[in-house]
Symmetry: D2
Subunit: 134 residues, 4 copies
């Protein structure tokens, strides 16, 4: 995903002092986490014990949607509004934490929940790190 930082480097106007490394990490973490959550919801659906994984599936689906939207908002710099960026990062941090907490409960039994929990935790941390710089 080198394109993320290359797109930042070729943005034609000033980026307003944003921490490029933390921004790049956060966009990549959102994309990775969003995909892992979509895949984890689907893997849970195929488990024989799906009836015990319904809260996990639902949280995965929310997390996937919020991560995709956050990646989009963070990929835009024109007419920057810190309130928008902050509020979507707060939402993303919240849902990534909830999804990591939920998936961790099934991590020993299901490899997809373990990998997804790790992706959610990375994304939660990346959102928190970026929020601190705003």
């Amino acid at each position: 995903m080198n394109a993320i930082s290359e797109m930042l480097d070729t943005y034609p106007k000033d980026l307003g002092g944003i921490d490029k490394a933390k921004l790049t990490e956060c966009i990549e973490a959102c994309l990775e986490c969003g995909q892992a959550c979509t895949a984890c919801a689907d893997a849970c659906l195929s488990e024989d014990m799906v009836a015990e994984l319904t809260k996990c599936i639902r949280t995965n689906l929310d997390c996937s949607d919020v991560c995709a939207t956050t990646a989009n908002v963070l990929s835009r710099h024109t007419g920057y509004d810190a309130n928008i960026t902050r509020s979507i990062l707060e939402a993303c941090r919240t849902v990534c934490k909830a999804c990591a907490d939920e998936c961790e409960q099934h991590a020993e039994m299901h490899g997809h929940c373990r990998i997804c929990a790790e992706a959610c935790r990375r994304c939660e941390d990346a959102c928190a790190a970026l929020l601190e710089t705003l």
Copy 2:
């Protein structure tokens, strides 16, 4: 969009005391606002004075993404987590307010900005009203 309330009425488990009317209104407002924002971004693109509308276009795009995600989160009830719902509603209210404020500045000159501003304000209000009940 009668399907929104019909889907709520046929949800097989308890909805946990949520205000069905306010929830239905909020989902519909999110869908309407998201579509209006996508269309307003595109209409701004086709204005001869597009160079003066770039902040409007950007805010429209953010608002469209956040509204679509909020409509999805609000359409799920299984394994409800109030923290997730609250944080995405806060983000949606924030971006709808920003987009309404921006579009209102062009409302006299551009009909699409006037209609979009109204949709954003309705969605901001619907998010605020639903947040009060949580």
Copy 3:
């Protein structure tokens, strides 16, 4: 959802002879179907017999994503490219047919599948009707 047609009416350039009524209907059908599919996937998750509804849930999720994207593409008119519009409408018609067929199999037992199947069928028809005019 009056905003859909109002946004079309205030688009600043020529719409290129598109059938406005069919376009408006198709955008609205996509938004309605996308929401119904998100809600139906979640309602299926809460059924005691969720293990028998996993294909339905998966098809609902695909249909929801494709309908949301199709609504966005149809809401843009600047730099129109008929190949893009046609290919996403074909994909949307295909997934709406698949989802309607799947949900209809559970329509007698689950009210949410009945309502969702109707929304999918309306959207399939709206995509087909719009495709005929392109």
Copy 4:
């Protein structure tokens, strides 16, 4: 983005003979292209000559939406329906080609268009390669 292949490896049921390497490449290409297109639309918005880039922006926005949806559909394996996968891959290949063609016209003048065109071409090729295996 190692999580993409790790999620595939931990899927609990049979993947039905799909080419895992090509599937992984295609999901990653969709995520990369979708992000590049969102960023390119925004970078074009900040160019002084934005009025000459409106078709590019519009095509970027379509491509971003379709790529995100395609990544989601490809990340699901439960209740697989080849018709759905094929039709969304066809749409994605079509819009990636259109966006690559458009961005290439501005590639010498705008670095973001050059990088985005490359991401679109990779995604077009990855969709075509995966389609051949279905």
